[in-house]
């Protein structure tokens, strides 16, 4: 691979986009988000959840300003990803109340002097439960085994987002 990959550069670029007003707010989710709480697990892309600033006079919010902004900085499009510092990055709007809350309640972490906004461990775990693929279940187990969750907060989250039944099934399948 010719291009060096640096997630920290991705975070700096996203912070700059926020400072420039291209995006309103962001938070890192997915496997990269989970790495802030767990041991690193190989992943192929970075999920950045965003809220966009609505353009004046437009009802529909468009991601076009993101692509325009990044293209002028030499980033390239690859399918639904945009490649920043060698990493395919996907910008995702909140698709439901749980992800919207995760974005709203995200926390700021320090990455060697670079601020990074990241989903809380509880939100990442609840999203993993809701998403429900094999690798999401494995991630949820990691959160539990490492004691990375505030159990009271996690349970409240599950109740608030109608995930109590899914959690019962998960417990039966993996924790008993």
């Amino acid at each position: 691979m010719d291009v060096e990959m640096h997630i920290q550069e991705v975070i700096k670029t996203i912070n700059q986009m926020q400072a420039d007003g291209v995006i309103e707010c962001y938070a890192i989710g997915g496997a990269v988000g989970a790495t802030f709480y767990l041991e690193p697990v190989a992943t192929l892309d970075v999920d950045i959840f965003i809220t966009l600033k609505p353009e004046a006079g437009r009802l529909i919010v468009s991601p076009q300003p993101i692509f325009d902004h990044l293209r002028t900085r030499g980033c390239t499009m690859e399918g639904e990803h945009i490649v920043i510092a060698g990493w395919p990055v996907q910008f995702l709007p909140p698709t439901g109340p749980l992800v919207a809350e995760a974005l709203d309640k995200a926390v700021e972490k320090d990455v060697a002097g670079t601020p990074a906004r990241v989903f809380t461990a509880e939100h990442l775990a609840a999203i993993a439960l809701q998403t429900g693929r094999a690798k999401d279940k494995a991630r949820l187990l990691q959160f539990i085994e490492e004691g990375a969750l505030d159990v009271t907060r996690f349970q409240a989250l599950l109740a608030r987002h109608g995930l109590a039944e899914a959690w019962k099934r998960f417990e039966l399948q993996f924790l008993q």
Partner: protein, 66 residues
């Protein structure tokens, strides 16, 4: 000293994972960089015709997709 006691091996793996999880975040992100490079290198050879390696889509990605 290496031994074949399963409980000891499981506990040792857990301890290693815990140590990795406790590393500074900058170090862990640098490890992700290396892990991805390795994955791309291994899978890229097998999937040379694909311009891009993708993971299985998750519902939050596909809900709004056309």
């Amino acid at each position: 000293m290496m031994n074949f006691d399963l409980a000891t091996m499981i506990e040792s793996k857990r301890a290693l994972r815990r140590r990795l999880a406790e590393r500074p975040i900058a170090e862990k992100l640098a490890l992700l960089d290396k892990l991805r490079e390795r994955t791309v290198s291994i899978r890229g050879e097998r999937l040379a015709s694909n311009a891009m390696l993708r993971e299985q889509e998750s519902p939050y990605r596909t809900k709004g997709a056309k």
